[in-house]
């Protein structure tokens, strides 16, 4: 072991700007090894940016950042220090993989850090209460549970610096206690580990040795909690916060619980919701009076959100009933919905719209008048402190500001009932206070019924009544004081913890904690292990969507069938119309020669010129023959009467082909019309020989090329989403902050797609041989090698577009559009390569498809040997390496 560096993290003169707003303004901060620092401050003051800079997740714009003694602005230094950093980003489980199970998520993170003994993983899951849910998909966990899983993933290795961005937001009080006990235990075992935490729970801040208070991108106070409090004469952290940030704390609104005879506005009877065998909500009963504030408390994953969704009609109940404003909840009942406001747990507004645009949209949705809507929006933006953010894109705002926007929208239409699912999670204390003032004012002045869930006990105390929920059931209900007294607890939080323990939640056994601390991994992380971890995760995600997986395989075959049969350059059964102005045996013999050929089908006999035009315009005829009057007579007398013909020129290729057929048939038809006579000996005989495809079957030519086209499309479309999807859904942060290199990441992701593509390739070859009747005439080895290198190259194309784009839509569309041209048009299907214009040929040559087609056609049709095709194989290999190198170069290892 090397000597621990004197500073765990040191920032000097750091400045960070997003578009127009300044997140950090000349910040300097030093955190010693072993120190525990908590960063607090209003929403959007740059706390998250500060943490992300220290973790190396965000690129340093200006100033110096050293983490564990390494200059984090340098990629090499970052790589060497990242295995010693643990970072948990903000947002309810945004960095997790929703289709992977809890255990698989943890294992993935463990593998990135060189693997953790399963004893340690078990202990962690025990300690955080995740053990019973090991097999559940992360996406199906409740918000708080996701947060716990995020913690678990951050703690899976032994870091020298632990950075947690609002780790306990949305976590229930019992779990919060357990979590901080766990962190304390880890710190006890690793005294040199530094801990940097951002939080919006001020009571948590008291546990730390040092508090850093930020405002408007600057540090305005820094010191021990007790010291700061006495210096500023504040009784509590909360008071200190309000004083230093200059927040106005208005007096509490006085209000009384509603009268017992007030009408019931929200009620549930025997309300039950099952997901398969799992009972999420179990026979829940409650009734809430008009103007009442009803708190809904409970451990994470106990069914609070599900209950609320049933109240809004988003989820149908499995049994029992829910009534809203006296009416049974019905998804189609718009009138009731207009009287209810709902705020869901995760941020569910439009991240790509600005704050103002989101507000305007909802004003329209609720049918507010133009003027009253605008007035209401102005009032709310003031009230919720959104004025300075109105022009900002909502997705880029800090969590707290986004929550405030969601709140503003929930109350925008002045609803009679408000259903709020953890509305204040992640919101700073001052904003929370403002919010509660508004809630209480609405309940008192407008008799609005409030149904709210929260994990803040200070908020629960302000409710008229609260219900404790555990494992799908309401286990206690009453006024906060009654409930506290019933458990003879000093605080409501203690009462909560006791209720949870009555409900069956216990403390984690202490021996698991010691297992956790002693069984740290000492293995050096391996490149191959990380690469394989990424590949394994990609495979798991693919398998979790069997539909996608099956389609990737079966879909190619379906396409192959459609194209094999559908793309044909032979023209048959062309509709023919005839205007016979002669009506002699000769003219009839002439027409018969056309009508009896397989190329034409006689559809109509026409009478005049107008009919010709009609027939062509309405596409009833593609070829019209016009036999002049006196044709038979002139022909018999040795003359050469010209036959008129019109061909539909709308589709030139068909027109040309049809003309060719017509010319050929014309000669035979004249001979037939003239009757038996002495055949004239030709001056010469042209002997056409169609090589490689004697039968001139479209299959033989189209199928080998079609394989190239399909294998260009499917693997590249799949990989094009591989990276951008993580960017869009948030898990890309893991790539930024874990010790995985760009090459490992991309190559690891690519392996499963190469395998999938190769299986596709083999299926297509089988189809070509068995169904389309092709045969291998050349080197089979060359074909196999080309198939492998080709899917490797085309799947790398997807990575390039994935690295460039920011949204999944753009990636899919961009890839499809960009590939379509060189793969379909310039690869030899529509025109032989030799016939392309130089520029087009270059475009074709710069894309792997034309090279693969050389091999494919060469092996299937032309009998070319491995030696002969070695050049093309080499080019395909170069494409793979080159495209992967471009993708690696384009992929950023840090957020901007």
């Amino acid at each position: 072991m090397t000597e621990p560096p004197p500073w765990a993290a040191r920032l000097t003169g750091v400045r960070h700007v997003y578009a127009k707003s300044v997140a950090l303004d000349d910040v300097s901060l030093a955190v010693a090894a072993g120190e525990a620092v908590v960063v607090i401050g209003p929403d959007g003051v740059g706390k998250s940016t500060l943490l992300a800079l220290i973790a190396g997740a965000t690129r340093v714009q200006q100033g110096g950042v050293e983490t564990l003694g390494h200059d984090i602005t340098k990629e090499r230094a970052r790589t060497s220090v990242q295995p010693r950093i643990a970072f948990m980003p903000q947002g309810l489980g945004r960095n997790l993989y929703p289709t992977l199970s809890v255990r698989e998520n943890i294992d993935y993170f463990a593998a990135l850090f060189g693997g953790a003994p399963s004893k340690r993983v078990d202990a962690l899951m025990q300690a955080l209460g995740l053990a019973p849910f090991a097999a559940r998909a992360a996406g199906k966990l409740s918000g708080g549970m996701k947060q716990k899983l995020g913690l678990c993933c951050a703690l899976v290795h032994d870091p020298d610096i632990l950075i947690l961005d609002e780790p306990t937001t949305g976590v229930d009080p019992l779990s919060r206690r357990q979590f901080w006990d766990l962190v304390s235990a880890i710190r006890g075992a690793r005294p040199a580990m530094a801990l940097i935490v951002a939080t919006s729970y001020l009571d948590e801040a008291e546990r730390f040795g040092r508090v850093v208070l930020m405002q408007a991108g600057r540090i305005i106070a820094d010191g021990a909690p007790a010291h700061l409090k006495s210096e500023h004469g504040a009784a509590s952290m909360e008071a200190l916060f309000m004083t230093l940030t200059g927040a106005q704390v208005p007096d509490r609104i006085m209000r009384r619980p509603p009268a017992p005879d007030a009408p019931i506005s929200v009620e549930a009877h025997g309300l039950t919701r099952r997901f398969g065998a799992f009972v999420a909500v179990d026979r829940v009963e409650f009734s809430v009076r008009r103007g009442e504030i009803y708190g809904f408390l409970g451990s994470n994953g106990c069914g609070k959100t599900t209950t609320m969704k049933m109240l809004t009609g988003l989820l149908p109940a499995s049994a029992g009933e829910a009534r809203m404003l006296g009416r049974l909840v019905d998804a189609r009942d718009l009138a009731t919905r207009r009287r209810v406001g709902y705020m869901s747990q995760g941020f569910s507004l439009y991240g790509e719209l600005t704050v103002q645009q989101n507000l305007n949209l909802h004003a329209e949705l609720f049918g507010l008048g133009r003027d009253s809507g605008a007035a209401r929006i102005t009032a709310l933006t003031h009230q919720f402190g959104l004025i300075e953010h109105t022009g900002a894109v909502a997705g880029g705002l800090p969590l707290g500001v986004r929550q405030r926007l969601s709140l503003a929208i929930a109350v925008l239409h002045e609803p009679e009932v408000l259903i709020l699912d953890e509305p204040t999670s992640g919101v700073d204390p001052a904003a929370r206070e403002t919010f509660w003032q508004e809630i209480e004012r609405l309940a008192r002045d407008q008799q609005v019924t409030i149904f709210i869930s929260t994990h803040f006990m200070t908020e629960a105390e302000r409710c008229d009544r609260i219900a404790f929920m555990h494992a799908g059931r309401v286990i206690a209900e009453g006024a906060p004081d009654e409930l506290r007294q019933s458990q003879s607890a000093a605080t409501l939080e203690d009462a909560f913890v006791r209720f949870m323990q009555i409900g069956g939640a216990g403390d984690p056994p202490t021996d698991t904690l010691s297992a956790l601390i002693t069984s740290a991994s000492t293995k050096r992380p391996k490149r191959a292990a990380r690469l394989l971890a990424v590949a394994r995760r990609e495979i798991l995600e693919m398998l979790r969507e069997p539909v996608r997986f099956a389609m990737a395989l079966a879909g190619t075959l379906v396409l192959a069938l459609a194209f094999g049969y559908g793309i044909s350059f032979n023209v048959e059964d062309v509709s023919l119309a005839v205007i016979d102005r002669d009506r002699t045996p000769a003219s009839r013999a002439y027409v018969e020669e056309f009508a009896s050929s397989p190329y034409f089908e006689l559809r109509a006999a026409l009478n005049d010129d107008r009919a010709i035009e009609q027939a062509l315009r309405s596409n009833r005829a593609t070829l019209v023959l016009d036999i002049p009057p006196g044709f038979g007579r002139t022909l018999a007398s040795g003359g050469a009467p010209p036959i008129g013909a019109w061909v539909d020129g709308a589709m030139p290729f068909r027109a040309e082909t049809v003309s060719g057929y017509a010319e050929a048939l014309h000669r035979r038809a004249i001979a037939a019309a003239a009757g038996p006579g002495a055949p004239v000996r030709a001056a010469y005989a042209l002997e056409p020989r169609f090589l490689y495809n004697q039968a001139f079957r479209s299959f033989n030519a189209v199928v080998p090329i079609m394989i190239g086209i399909l294998l260009a499309m499917i693997p590249s479309i799949l990989t094009s989403l591989a990276v951008v999807r993580e960017k869009e859904l948030g898990s890309i942060t893991n790539f930024y902050v874990t010790p995985i290199s760009r090459t490992e990441f991309l190559l690891g992701k690519q392996l499963p797609y190469i395998a999938l593509g190769f299986v596709n390739f083999l299926l297509l070859v089988l189809l070509a041989l068995l169904l389309f009747g092709l045969s291998i005439k050349g080197s089979f080895i060359a074909l196999l090698a080309a198939g492998f290198l080709y899917v490797a190259a085309t799947s790398a194309v997807g990575f390039v577009s994935s690295a460039l784009t920011r949204s999944q839509t753009a990636a899919v569309f961009g890839t499809a559009i960009v590939i379509m041209v060189p793969a379909v048009e310039f690869s030899g299907l529509m025109q032989p390569l030799a016939s392309l214009e130089p520029v087009d040929r270059a475009i074709g040559a710069l894309f792997p498809t034309s090279h693969f087609n050389q091999v494919s056609t060469g092996v299937f049709a032309k009998g070319r040997s491995l030696f002969d095709l070695a050049g093309e194989l080499g080019i395909l290999a170069l494409f793979w390496a080159g495209l992967l190198a471009i993708a690696i170069a384009l992929l950023r290892k840090q957020e901007r």
Partner: protein, 373 residues
């Protein structure tokens, strides 16, 4: 249906679209450069066909034959040795190889009807047949002229006076330009609508919307209108500036009628996109379904290869795809100058199938949300 809500949601769609710069870039590329490049590159008449000639005769006639091929269809013929012919065909450097035998001219003059061999790479399926008949016709002409020059005209046969209607010069870029325009609208309309649904669900905004006083029909209508309007505008501009401006098509029929056709097609494509969005669980799944559906819709619609050449069952299947009607309708209006009296069945088919998908997506909308939770 509350139209204020529909328009508010449609405005939201437009804003989301405008925010994605890369997507916008691709969309613009697709409607401009991509159409132009494909239309000119994918010319369906035979052009620049490569031919090599081994002249073992070295006579006046054989030299005339070497120069005879029309420039608009063939590259300058390359003279090679007889032994090289097969290798050049094999590597794809040449599609046609003509082998003029020794004493060809002398044998022709002597009336011995010598044979002349034409080797054709039949894997170049788009050129092989057509090119061979061009070469045969030119050869006929050239030998005929040669013999006439030597005072030995062949017997005169009645000519076939063939004219092409609607596109006398058989300019293929007109056709390919229009088809590329159609293919692009299909791709974009389906993808944008489908992705808009999947994206909203992945971000949780769809669930949020459904808790508002908004009907599923309003959400769907807004998406169809917003995406449709953008594509309709782009298709109109691309028709005027790219297909007419750069590719030189002079529309034979009414452009407003064509745009009406595009609009009815966009109704189908939007509904179909939403339908795909409701049946796919994630963006990668949508992408796959998209490829599986859109590739055949485009390639088999009759725009790239003639519908008549397909097997009967496939023709029947493709009649159920509005893309087939779309191509037929557009060709009829823009190139043949057809009016509504002729194309109304295509309009009806497109709108009918569109309505079917719209209704079905509406039916699925809430169900697929409930199963997701």
């Amino acid at each position: 249906m509350n139209w204020r809500i529909v328009f508010a949601l449609a405005l939201k769609e437009l804003r989301s679209l405008a925010r994605d710069r890369f997507l916008l870039g691709f969309v613009i590329y697709a409607f401009t450069a991509s159409i132009y490049v494909q239309a000119t590159g994918n010319a369906q008449d035979i052009r620049n066909a490569s031919i090599v000639i081994a002249d073992e005769d070295g006579s006046e006639l054989s030299r005339r034959i070497a120069r005879m091929l029309p420039q608009q269809h063939f590259r300058q013929a390359v003279m090679v040795m007889p032994g090289e012919l097969n290798g050049l065909l094999e590597s794809g450097e040449a599609t046609f190889a003509l082998d003029i035998p020794p004493r060809f001219e002398a044998d022709v003059l002597a009336g011995r009807s010598p044979s002349i061999q034409l080797l054709i790479d039949a894997t170049a399926i788009s050129q092989a047949g057509l090119g061979a008949s061009h070469i045969a016709a030119s050869l006929d002409q050239e030998v005929g002229d040669f013999l006439r020059g030597r005072g030995r005209p062949a017997a005169r046969a009645p000519p076939l006076e063939l004219r092409a209607a609607f596109n006398q010069a058989l300019v293929s870029t007109w056709f390919t330009g229009v088809v590329e325009l159609l293919d692009t609208t299909t791709m974009l309309a389906i993808l944008l609508a489908g992705a808009a649904i999947v994206r909203e669900r992945e971000h949780g905004t769809l669930e949020h919307l459904l808790a508002m006083p908004v009907r599923a029909a309003e959400i769907m209508t807004a998406k169809t209108i917003a995406n449709g309007a953008v594509i309709l505008a782009l298709a109109g501009l691309a028709l005027i500036f790219i297909v007419e401006g750069l590719l030189g098509l002079e529309p034979a029929g009414s452009v407003p009628l064509f745009l009406l056709g595009v609009a009815s097609y966009l109704f189908f494509a939007g509904s179909f996109g939403i339908f795909l969005g409701t049946i796919s669980r994630s963006m990668p799944q949508l992408a796959l379904i998209f490829i599986l559906v859109v590739l055949p819709m485009n390639l088999l619609s009759g725009g790239n290869t003639p519908l008549e050449s397909m097997p009967g069952w496939l023709q029947t299947v493709m009649q159920a795809s509005p893309s087939t009607h779309y191509v037929a309708m557009t060709q009829a209006i823009l190139i043949r100058g057809a009016d509504l009296a002729i194309v109304w069945p295509h309009f009806a088919g497109t709108l009918g199938i569109g309505a079917l998908f719209f209704a079905f997506s509406l039916f699925r909308f809430r169900r697929f949300l409930a199963t997701q939770a």
